[in-house]
Amino acid sequence: MAEAAKEKKLPIDDKVHTWPHLVRLEFLVALFVMVALTLWSITIDAPLEEPANPTRTPNPSKAPWYFLGLQEMLVYFDPWHAGVVLPSLIIVGLMVIPFIDINPKGNGYYCFKERKYEILTFIFGFHILWVVMIIIGTFFRGPGWNLFWPWQRWDPHKVVALTNVDLPYLLGFRDYWISAVFSLIVIGAYFVITIAGFYWWVLRVKGQEFMERWGMVRFTITAVLVALMLSLPAKMFLRLVFNVKYILVTPWINI
């Protein structure tokens, strides 16, 4: 930190004057971006369609592109989960990052080796899960939210067989109560296994000493968030490979 550097009279003072070094750069970059933005705005017009008509629903209706990741999650989870719980967890999950990451290394410089897993997790969550879902939602979804290639004509009458079934049904359970109990066990087992697996993995990779320093609270928060994050690809896998619609079906919530 600045004050610390000053007090200790460090051998090299690598400070430069803000004016002109930083201000000059800011000015040039702002100028360049302003020119690019102006050219872009002259050549490409913002869309304006026909007047709003609440009685005519376009097919597909897409949310603004930056929310298409959420809309794409609706394919795999019900709205209360994909639209409310998961987004809230994303926000909370981002906010707790500084508190669950106790690795003192890699503060203020680029490095990969010293914080491999942190970076890989972030890239997985952000680039794979968030950005890729947006790309799918933007370019690969057409009428009826069906999959289309970007070059394919959008056929509003495309017929897609609805072959999805619920997991307990797929496995032969027909009775409601037995199915519900089975489903709860599956979901419970998912969390127990991922969290236990995560525990074992942390011990193996980071060691006992790290785990003690990390503490149970940090570990639990991280493990639950990791399990929830992995639940998206897990559900996607079940859907795409086994046509599973829901894992748990109750009159109140479906998962």
Partner: protein, 258 residues
């Protein structure tokens, strides 16, 4: 060019009564003056007077935080221009857009710039977050500024989302309908959400109705989103940005220890 010729021209411009009347005296390039340029200027004072060399490099910051802020300023300026001609009333909103596009001097250009800089702001803020993550700049003592940053990220998205409705065309109302339908599914608080019955949420009295100002999207929603878009969210975002910048100065800019 001949160095002497250049100096002579400069001298001719600077050394005369008119120039002196305006600028009094020249800018002498001394360390003291360099510091004063920053500390004596209310806007440049956002910066510290000196910064560490690595923090200036584009390689380190990608300039993304600064550009996010710059895009925000562009949307504020172009947005004020649009506000002069736009009325947030269902009967007029769409016609005003057309009017703006075809009749107002630079109307189309201002609208385009407003739209594209808003989109650019979203991309930049994502990249900024990615950069801050990669350099580990959220680590102590900057944890709190990361939290402020996450709030700013959410506000940036909400700013764009509320603005999306204002043209009042097919694209905007349906995109906002799809986006807001999630609120209807909020557990307990949304009429289609789990356990809504226990709370008594219904289509005209739930989380989405609160957002829309009524059971479905309509003129009341337009006014609501307009106020959120033009007053409420910018106000909160500006305050948080002030905190964000203040904390960067307080905590010092992140960097490898010397």
């Amino acid at each position: 060019m001949d160095k002497n010729l250049f100096d002579k021209i400069k001298n001719d411009i600077v050394e005369n009564q008119v120039w002196k009347a305006i600028f009094r005296h020249g800018y002498e390039d001394t360390p003291r003056n360099r510091v004063l340029m920053v500390t004596a200027n209310v806007f440049l004072h956002l910066h510290p007077a000196k910064v560490r060399r690595h923090g200036v490099r584009m390689r380190f910051t990608w300039c993304m935080g600064g550009l996010t802020f710059f895009m925000y300023l562009v949307t504020v300026v172009t947005g004020i221009y649009l506000m002069f001609y736009y009325r947030p009333v269902a009967e007029y909103a769409y016609a005003d857009m057309k009017y703006l596009e075809f009749d107002m001097p630079f109307g189309m250009l201002m609208r385009n710039m407003h739209r594209w800089s808003a989109h650019a702001m979203i991309v930049f803020v994502w990249l900024h977050m990615f950069r801050v993550f990669l350099t580990g700049s959220y680590k102590p003592p900057r944890e709190f500024n990361w939290i402020v940053g996450v709030l700013l990220l959410v506000l940036t998205l909400l700013l764009s989302f509320t603005g999306y409705l204002l043209p009042w065309d097919q694209l905007s109302i349906w995109a906002v309908t799809v986006g807001s339908n999630m609120a209807r599914a909020t557990p307990l608080l949304g009429n289609e959400g789990p356990f809504a019955d226990f709370v008594g949420a219904n289509p005209i009295y739930d989380a989405r109705a609160f957002l829309f100002g009524g059971g479905e999207i309509g003129p009341h929603t337009l006014l609501r989103f307009y106020i959120l878009h033009c007053i409420f969210i910018p106000m909160v975002a500006s305050i948080l940005m002030a905190v964000h910048f203040w904390r960067i100065r307080r905590d010092g800019f992140s960097g490898p220890s010397l």
